[in-house]
Amino acid sequence: MDAVVHLRDAVCLLGRFPALAGVDLDVAPGEIVLLTGPNGAGKTTLLRALAGLVPVTAGEAVVLGHDLRRDARALRRDVGLLGHGAALYDDLTVAENVRFWARAGRAGGDVDAAMARAGLDSRVRDVIGARLSAGQRRRAALAVLFARAARLWLLDEPHAGLDAAGRDALDAEIRAAVASGTTVVVASHELDRASALATRTVTVAGGHLLGPSGRLSGEEEPLRVP
């Protein structure tokens, strides 16, 4: 089974600035790869590049079998990105937001179930996006992620803003997703929690990967869920 992510010397420019300056990264199916590293290292940019949102201007970049430098759009519906900001329409209620994105992604998934999994109780579901608390926004974003059927999850500091219960629930969801064949790349600064979750930890700094390179050493063992 070939790699879900395959980057060789990938470069991404933000304006004129090389936010990614030669990244080598392979991710095997079923892995949970943790990206960590100092602020401004390029984690967010790397995740956005993997989603095809930031053009890769040099090097090789293949995700889910699609060459990012040629047909980035092709993989869109297969990746689920949880970014720094939640994608919510201010004037739509949580429920309406989640339903809209689910429909847009042609996901058959059960929306209410997704919201329940994200821990959004019935009161919050009818509050419009503009009035949510920080954590509630994150949860709504999670619900969208759950409602859509993505094969590759790209999570940018997923725990930030979630309360204790929410964090545990999220970790459980991630493990479950991986068990059912999803691959996960997660950027996080909460090392203890995140590294407990991850099957492999990669350090990003100065726009590239440090130390034990991101390349796979031969065969990688997909995670077994206990």
């Binding site: 956005r48 949102l53 519906r77 994608a87 004037d91 739509l92 847009a104 992604g105």
Partner: protein, 223 residues
């Protein structure tokens, strides 16, 4: 594509229904513009009656600007733009949907505005059919061009000011054609024009912009 278009248009219209921006703010604004023109041109009233059509369309144009701005501001929340690109929605569908929503709002606006012009500038309508035709064609053109350029300007942080600059030249022909076409439907006109050709021209422009939008919107989202 059409499925996506309906989904998006429905979303936008629901947002409008909830926030009432168009109804409670753009429409009154348009009426105000009409009033202001009237005053700016006061010195001799003949002008008003003769320029009624032109002023009507200029007012519509400015309101269209606001409508498009709003329709883009809705997508402006952080993360939404990315989400749209990842959503898997057909770009052509998104374009159609947003244009559709804007068009619906503009049509409502034009009715209200038309009535106030008739009352305030005392013009007399002879060719209602022509007017209706003009309105539909022109609105299609405005909405299409607006949505297209709206998306173009939206990516940049300065959209609220960039949009008018981009849009005005593009819709100017529509504006002119619409003006001439409607003039022929008002007795007030000082000279004779044949609505036919102008209507035709409007149709061409509308078709052109819609087609162009369908094809160009995808690449635009990619920026």
């Amino acid at each position: 594509m059409f499925r996506d278009a309906l989904l998006v248009a429905g979303k936008d219209l629901r947002i409008e229904r909830r926030s009432r921006v168009g109804l409670q703010q753009i429409v009154p604004f348009a009426v105000l513009v009409i009033v202001l023109f009237a005053f700016a041109l006061d010195p001799d009233r003949g002008v008003l009656t003769r320029a009624a059509a032109g002023l009507f369309w200029v007012a519509v144009l400015f309101s269209a600007l606001l409508a498009v701005q709003r329709s883009q501001a809705v997508e402006g929340a952080d993360g939404v733009r990315d989400a749209v690109r990842l959503s898997g929605l057909d770009p052509a569908g998104i374009f159609l949907g947003k244009a559709l929503a804007v068009a619906v709002q503009l049509l409502v606006l034009e009715v209200v505005l038309g009535v106030s012009v008739v009352l305030l500038y005392d013009v007399e309508v002879v060719g209602l059919g022509v007017l209706a035709g003009t309105a539909v064609a022109a609105t299609a053109g405005l909405a299409a061009a607006g949505s297209l350029y709206g998306a173009l300007a939206a990516g940049l942080r300065v959209r609220e000011t960039l949009l008018p600059l981009l849009l005005l030249p593009v819709v100017a022909p529509v504006l002119i054609a619409a003006t001439r076409a409607s003039e022929s439907a008002l007795t007030s006109t000082s000279f004779e024009v044949s609505a036919g050709d102008w209507l035709g021209l409007l149709g061409v422009f509308a078709a052109l912009y819609v087609a162009f939008g369908l094809f160009a919107y995808g690449p635009l989202l990619e920026d």
